[in-house]
């Protein structure tokens, strides 16, 4: 029984195979290719070859990929979307696609309609929902759109109207036109959720290519017994079936996987994770085994969304960062980098660019390449550069800490060799020989998650009942995504009171995780 995990990053595509005790039995780092798919194929092929296991014993295969993000950023392969917002006459003051970059609005066809209905914060209808109105619109969109996005005002309180529109769309436009309902995509905040739902609908073609490509790659290697999953940005998995209708949830899974992988390797549940790559260092916060979520709204390809993303601080320091001696004697480090060309350009590999990796080798912090090629660098310069590297890391760590106490730090990533053993504000540094492929390990150990958010009035629904209800709904989400019911546990409950609203109105958000077996 083995698990295969792949993580596609900007520079590297990593793959690992874990045994049933979640021990790493083989791992590989390959370059990410322009088409992404051939890179995934390479990585799978190599990691299997190295492991020499019988592929029939691989029972699970997980993929964390950037293809959806790339499609949005590059405006490629996106579908035409028909947007139905339920809530008229409310919300007409801000129409769909307001503040979107015009090039992507055009590609998505700028087709939208505001229809009557929607809910108040207490579940009352804003105006009566009118079925005929929706039918007419859907009929007029026949042949014009590739998918439908449905967004109802306060659909997190009641999604009946969104479901009704979905049924009508499937009846009128046929099963080949996919429908995304906003209540399954994002949380409260209409515009952000609408934007995420529109993007989700536009990504249906892309996600089909991803899932088909992954399936083919597995088949080619003879892996036919494995259940397949895609990674979400909250550190959990979704089944291929679920992923097909929720492609937007794959965005940002990379940093999450690296944090989760780091947690697994270090056996820590609460720590900072410092992932030093070739060009940047990403710092995330591990809270009870999961990444802390960002409180800022997330922009993808110039479009503001409100879905969950890990809180990551990126600084321009990596193993390939360029070190410069200026004429006035000062030294600078980065933010530019030789990136994946490090094995040709860094001095220690016979190149002519002084990088942070050269500094680490010069100071005897690690043994790679040919140290004799570094004789022209003075100890003074090396020490000075290391002081700057240390400062950048210490400052970044301090920004992400939530208390003044020293914190444990888990150090991972291909560029981890440039970090000193001691950092100010850090209680202990954890490292692991598999730290370089922490992201692929994170993909492999990911669990199945569920999340539910709703506004309750504690006057009508006592607090304990409200939380129980939200937990039940979150469990159902997890089961839908492929979790086994009795393995599910609650990882977080968040309560936010709504000011000015009567009856102790409180937004409750519950997150659960479970295992797929």
């Amino acid at each position: 029984m083995y698990k295969l995990g792949i993580d596609v990053g900007g520079t590297n595509t990593d793959a690992v195979i874990l045994d049933s005790n979640l021990k790493v039995i083989s791992n590989i780092k390959t370059h990410t290719t322009k088409d992404i798919e051939s890179g995934i194929n390479n990585a799978i092929h190599q990691v299997i070859e190295q492991s020499q296991i019988d592929v029939q014993n691989i029972t699970e295969a997980m993929l964390g990929t950037t293809q959806a993000t790339n499609a949005i950023v590059e405006r490629q392969k996106l579908g035409k979307v028909g947007v139905i917002r339920i809530g008229y006459p409310a919300t007409a003051s801000i129409l769909p696609y307001t503040e979107w970059p015009s090039d992507i609005t055009k590609i998505l066809s700028n087709t939208f309609s505001l229809v009557h209905g929607g809910y108040e914060f207490n579940g009352d209808e804003i105006t009566p929902f009118q079925e005929d109105e929706v039918k007419d619109i859907l009929q007029s969109w026949q042949g014009k759109v590739d998918g439908i996005a449905v967004i109802g005002v306060f659909s997190s309180i009641n999604n009946d109207q969104e479901q009704k529109v979905k049924q009508l769309a499937e009846k009128i436009l046929g099963p080949d036109i996919p429908v995304s309902c906003s209540s399954t995509i994002g949380s409260i905040g209409l515009i952000g959720r609408e934007n995420a739902t529109i993007l989700n609908t536009a990504l249906f073609k892309v996600i089909k290519l991803v899932t088909d490509g992954f399936l083919n790659a597995l088949k080619q290697e003879g892996i036919t017994n494995a259940k397949q999953y895609l990674c979400q940005n909250d550190g959990t998995l979704m089944s291929m079936e679920y992923a097909k209708s929720h492609p937007i949830l794959t965005i940002g899974s990379g940093p999450t996987n690296s944090i989760r992988g780091a947690a697994y390797l270090s056996k820590q549940e609460n720590a900072l994770v410092l992932d030093i790559g070739g060009t940047t260092s990403d710092i995330g916060v591990l809270v009870n085994g999961f990444p802390r979520e960002s409180s800022k709204s997330v922009t993808v390809g110039g479009i503001q969304t409100n879905f969950r993303m890990p809180d990551i601080l990126s600084v321009g320091l990596g193993g390939g960062s360029i070190v410069r001696e200026n004429s006035d004697g000062t030294i600078t480090v980065g933010p530019d980098s030789v990136g994946y060309e490090i094995t040709e350009k860094a001095k220690v590999f016979g190149g002519d660019v002084l990088t942070t990796t050269d500094i680490a080798v010069k100071l005897g912090m690690c043994q790679i390449g040919d140290p004799s090629l570094l004789s022209s660098i003075s100890d003074d310069v090396a020490q000075h550069a290391m002081t700057i590297i240390t400062q950048i890391l210490e400052d970044a760590i301090d920004r992400m800490k939530t208390s003044s106490k020293d914190v444990p730090v888990i150090l991972v990533g291909g560029g981890a060799i440039i970090s000193p053993n001691h950092l100010k504000g850090v209680a202990q540094i954890y490292t692991d020989k598999f730290g370089g492929v922490a992201n692929a390990i994170g993909a492999t150990i990911a669990q199945i998650g569920g999340e539910y958010e709703k506004v309750y009035q504690y006057v009508d629904t006592p607090r304990t009942d409200a939380i129980k209800d939200a937990e039940l709904q979150a469990n159902q989400q997890a089961v839908n995504a492929g979790a086994v019911e009795d393995t599910i546990e609650t990882v977080s409950i968040e309560e936010i009171p709504l000011s000015y609203a009567p009856g102790d109105t409180t937004r409750v958000k519950v997150k659960v995780v479970g295992s797929n077996h």
Binding site: P89, A90, A92, S93, I94, D124, I126, I188, K401, I496
Partner: protein
């Protein structure tokens, strides 16, 4: 001199107004999108300087009332003010000449732009608070003896309610209840004043002040350092940097429809041995360092992000955020016995006397020096 407000001006005003919201006033995002959508459709709006408001003409304030968190999900149709202003006109038997903001805040600095753009009327550069406050009677207009009503509340469906009350506190009570029935948010036309009254009782130049602050914040990264930009921000607001730290805890409770709470901030840098604590009731009311009071309402207590100087409102605070706590002096109209009675710390049920921020700050610095 009158001037036109374009998209860029609106972005700047929204940012600066969020700072003057003193932690409340709503998230500027929705208000800004509404204003930008309107002027995209109708072209720029005209901002009159206060002296350009004709003495005898009628001006009515356009605002949003209710739960800011609800307006993130259900926001207006855009035509509400047309209806409520019509009703006001038929009540007064007089044409409305222009509109003005009731307060400076993320949402209510934008609502007059929505109204003005839709009805093609000017906005006067004056408001009734110079900051944000939670209740209708907390305005310099009320301090000057004007009534809040007649007030017309409207919802997106077309429901309108004309409210006339015996005093401004009743306007707050009845208005709040009507708002709840309308879905916890409504739009409001209120505080009808002549140009002369508005000029005499209002806080003048608020939109321009908001814009000046917003422009500086948007260009904070063009200074030699963020600290330089912060110094400039303090200079143009006559403000003080009271504390710098990291938010480590937030406690919310709802009482009587308000968002009450405490924000705990652990000091950083020169404040690293200290703990700051903000008590808020929608807006920030009291700021203490190591249990010593350093600022109270009506002076403004406001947080900005240490890296960007972007204002931080109480709805979006999360632990881990690094902030400067700033103290800005309130408009002089609030620093009178009547003003302090209306919006001082005792009104918000804190057993603390109002002492102007500049005095508290000076004492604090002297004590620290000893």
């Amino acid at each position: 001199m009158s001037r036109k407000l374009y998209a860029e001006d609106i972005n700047q005003i929204a940012t600066g107004a969020a700072l003057l919201g003193a932690g409340g006033g709503g998230n500027p995002y929705i208000g800004k999108l509404m204003a930008l959508s309107m002027i995209k459709k109708n072209g720029p709006v005209t901002l009159l300087s206060p002296e350009e408001a004709p003495d005898e003409e009628l001006f009515v304030s356009a605002s949003g009332i209710g739960a800011p968190a609800v307006s993130m999900e259900k926001f207006p149709n855009g035509s509400e003010f047309r209806r409520s202003f019509e009703m006001m006109e038929s009540y007064y038997g007089k044409k409305i000449y222009g509109t003005f903001p009731i307060e400076a805040g993320g949402i209510n600095s934008m609502m007059p732009i929505v109204a003005a753009s839709d009805m093609n009327m000017p906005i006067v550069d004056a408001d009734g608070m110079g900051r944000a406050f939670p209740e209708l009677q907390m305005s310099t207009f009320v301090l000057a003896g004007h009534s809040v009503t007649p007030m017309v509340l409207t919802d997106e469906r077309g429901n309108t309610s004309l409210i006339n009350t015996i005093d401004p506190v009743w306007a707050e009570k009845i208005g709040r209840n009507v708002t709840v029935q309308m879905g916890a948010t409504a739009t409001s036309a209120s505080d009808g004043l002549t140009g002369k009254e508005l000029r005499e009782a209002g806080v003048l130049g608020i939109m321009t002040k908001s814009q000046k602050i917003g422009t500086l914040i948007q260009h904070a990264n063009e200074f030699d350092s963020v600290d330089q930009a912060l110094l400039e921000l303090l200079k143009i607001t006559n403000g003080f940097r009271l504390f710098t730290g990291k938010i480590t805890d937030i406690e919310h409770t709802t009482k009587g429809g308000f968002n009450f709470g405490e924000t705990i901030i652990h000091g950083l840098n020169e404040d690293s041995e200290s703990t700051g604590q903000i008590s808020f009731q929608n807006e920030n009311i009291i700021f203490k360092v190591n249990d010593k009071v350093l600022a109270t309402a009506p002076d403004l207590i406001t947080m900005v992000d240490v890296d960007t100087l972007q204002p931080v409102t109480n709805e979006e605070i999360k632990y881990g955020k690094r902030v400067h706590v700033l103290g800005l002096p309130a408009n002089d109209k609030w620093r009178t016995p009547a003003g302090i009675k209306s919006v001082g710390p005792r009104y918000f049920k804190y057993d603390v006397d109002y002492v102007p921020i500049e005095t508290r700050y000076k004492n604090f610095v002297e004590e620290k020096g000893e």
